[in-house]
């Protein structure tokens, strides 16, 4: 009994630690003054004003366009690459896999700086496009590393069976292989999106004047005090994520339920 109590308290304290900054952020998005420490009264005004704030809306726009574009492109290139790597012989496969790990293991700051040097040297003006290229680069490994295990799981016989039944390689890929690796592709895409939206370090080094995502904007505001409008925006985004998780979870448990019945 004492043991469970200790465990409960411990769990509670850890979760308190994890959630307290988030609670603070959300609570102060409803604070009527700009103070980040003193509660002066309840208001919704930041939720309205954030939509009128040019800087916040621009960085939100860049965050979303870059994350979306970069993850879509990375998903396409990465899925195709994963199929290619999967059918390689042992040696080149090992080389490609290790090169794929490189940007994941390399410190973000080194990745960011090395790309910055590259862009400066080839005289690519730093801004939207350079940041997009950087995001695609660090997204690609996540897509490939999500798709590869699905390809490994895929029974090669299934592809052979489609050919055997008269399907051309292209038709067999679309009708048989793609549907089976789709969950991996989707996971890769989601991971890439998450990484992109959250990224600060690499964006910081590869962007140029006038183009900043939310993370960069928060960083530049941090010393003087972050506007409660940002709190409002982040709280809204956070609520959106949780809502999405609930929907996905709901649907998955329903699917599982249905599949469960069939198995029996």
């Amino acid at each position: 009994m004492v043991k469970t109590a200790i465990k409960r308290i411990y769990t509670f304290l850890i979760f308190l630690f994890l959630y307290s900054p988030i609670i603070v952020l959300i609570v102060f998005s409803f604070n009527s003054s700009k103070s980040r420490a003193h509660w002066t009264g309840f208001t919704f005004k930041w939720y309205v004003e954030m939509f009128k704030d040019q800087q916040i809306m621009t960085s939100l726009y860049y965050t979303i366009t870059i994350a979306l574009t970069a993850s879509i492109i990375a998903t396409i290139i990465g899925t195709i690459a994963a199929i290619g790597i999967h059918s390689m012989k042992k040696m080149p496969k090992a080389i490609m896999t290790n090169m794929t790990y490189l940007p994941v293991l390399n410190p973000d700051i080194v990745t960011g700086i090395s790309l910055m040097i590259l862009f400066i040297l080839v005289k690519l003006p730093r801004g939207f496009f350079s940041m997009l290229l950087a995001h695609i680069t660090f997204n690609l490994p996540y897509v490939i590393l999500s798709v590869m295990p699905k390809l490994k799981q895929l029974d090669n016989q299934v592809y052979d069976a489609a050919l055997d039944l008269g399907a051309t390689p292209g038709y067999a890929f679309i009708k048989v292989v793609l549907p089976q690796i789709a969950p991996g592709i989707f996971t890769g895409f989601l991971l890439a999106m998450t990484m992109s939206i959250d990224d600060f370090v690499i964006s910081f080094f590869t962007t140029g004047p006038g183009v900043s995502n939310l993370a960069i904007t928060i960083y530049s505001m941090a010393r003087k005090g972050v506007s409660p409008k940002i709190n409002a925006l982040l709280s809204l985004m956070f609520a959106g994520v949780i809502l999405m998780l609930l929907v996905i979870n709901n649907r998955m448990s329903r699917d599982n339920g249905r599949r469960g019945e069939n198995v029996i």
Partner: protein
């Protein structure tokens, strides 16, 4: 019956410098049930995959109805395959799985419905159209895999250890069922297995393979009764294999004695393998046998007892319907017809 539908001519294949098939020559007739039999790694599956078009032979030709099809991709070949692990499309239901090949051939929807229904009836799964493949048992999945191949009306069906994943009872049922389907459709089956009993039960012709070479081709009776060498004898049923010397025609020495036999045509004093089936050894009172021995162990196998008998420095396996207790002295008797003399297999 003697028109060959498929011929393999001098087919060889190697993977990464390892020779998997060496100079395979084989003709398969229409309506024949042919089994490629051998231990794992003998090249039987590779042979099947070359016929199916999933591998291309390094040298040699694959001839289908008189035409070379060496480089024809699988989707252009008029044969279908039942895969070892079924290879069902798990994201489609039973109907969609079976209709897959027909849809590619742009068969009319009504016609597809009809054919799917017929083939499901053939494999005894009428009414299973809308089931998810994941909800079926192993045996049912196997039937769907067979139905999916058969619905395309291939002239030849390739089966790669299709019953390997099923339990014993189900496997026996499916063996009979496959034989029934093959006979009622009148098409050629090429069947790969490592299970000698399965091969003996179903086949018209058995092709025994080892180390990428064909050892013997023949009817189940031929292969069982007249194995060409000690490997085949041992692989098809259990055997006692003894080193011997063929002193002259019709006379062989082994296990410290000289015995009469029915074989001839060996060199004088040639070293040979002597093969005796366990069920061909008769137990007699100790002093009346050709060889004397002591019973070392007895196992009851249902139909017979399997006894290991120590005699003349070796262990003899004997199958008998009567049992002698352990440590009894017994005599063993074999008639000359059951002493099989074989050339030594060169071990490479």
């Amino acid at each position: 019956m003697h028109e060959k539908i498929i011929r393999l001519v001098n087919v060889s294949k190697s993977f990464n410098g390892h020779q998997v098939l060496q100079d395979i020559n084989l003709g398969i007739s229409r309506n024949e049930f042919v089994t490629l039999l051998g231990p794992s790694g003998c090249g039987k599956t590779t042979t099947l995959r070359i016929i199916g078009g999933f591998e291309v032979s390094d040298i040699g030709d694959v001839i289908f109805e008189g035409k070379k099809i060496n480089n024809l991709p699988p989707y252009k070949r008029k044969l279908n395959t039942v895969f070892q692990r079924y290879a069902l499309f798990t994201h489609m239901d039973v109907y969609e799985n079976i209709a897959f090949g027909l849809k590619i051939k742009k068969v009319e929807k009504k016609e597809i419905d009809k054919k799917v229904k017929e083939v499901l009836k053939l494999v005894n799964l009428t009414g299973y159209e809308n089931r998810e493949t994941g909800s079926l048992s192993g045996g049912q999945q196997q039937r769907i895999a067979i139905a999916r191949a058969l619905v395309n009306e291939p002239q030849v069906l390739l089966l790669d250890e299709p019953l390997g994943a099923l339990d014993l009872k189900l496997r026996k049922d499916m063996q009979l069922e496959l034989k029934r389907i093959q006979q009622s459709l009148g098409i050629t089956f090429i069947y790969v297995t490592h299970d000698q009993e399965e091969a003996l039960t179903m086949s018209d012709t058995i092709v025994v393979m080892k180390d990428g070479r064909i050892q013997q081709v023949g009817t189940p009776q031929d292969i069982y009764n007249e194995p060409i060498n000690a490997f085949v004898a041992d692989f098809i049923g259990e055997s006692n294999i003894i080193d011997g010397v063929m002193v002259k025609d019709f006379y062989v020495e082994f296990a410290g004695g000289g015995f009469e036999c029915v074989d001839k045509g060996f060199k004088a004093n040639e070293e040979v393998d002597v093969v005796i089936r366990p069920e061909d050894i008769k137990l007699v009172p100790a002093d009346q046998g050709m060889i004397e021995g002591v019973v070392e162990s007895v196992i009851f196998k249902g139909v017979h007892y399997e006894m290991l008998i120590n005699g003349r420095d070796m262990r003899w396996m004997v199958h008998s319907t009567t049992m002698e207790p352990v440590n009894t002295k017994v005599g063993m008797q074999v008639i000359p017809y059951d002493i099989h003399i074989m050339k030594k297999v060169r071990t490479e």
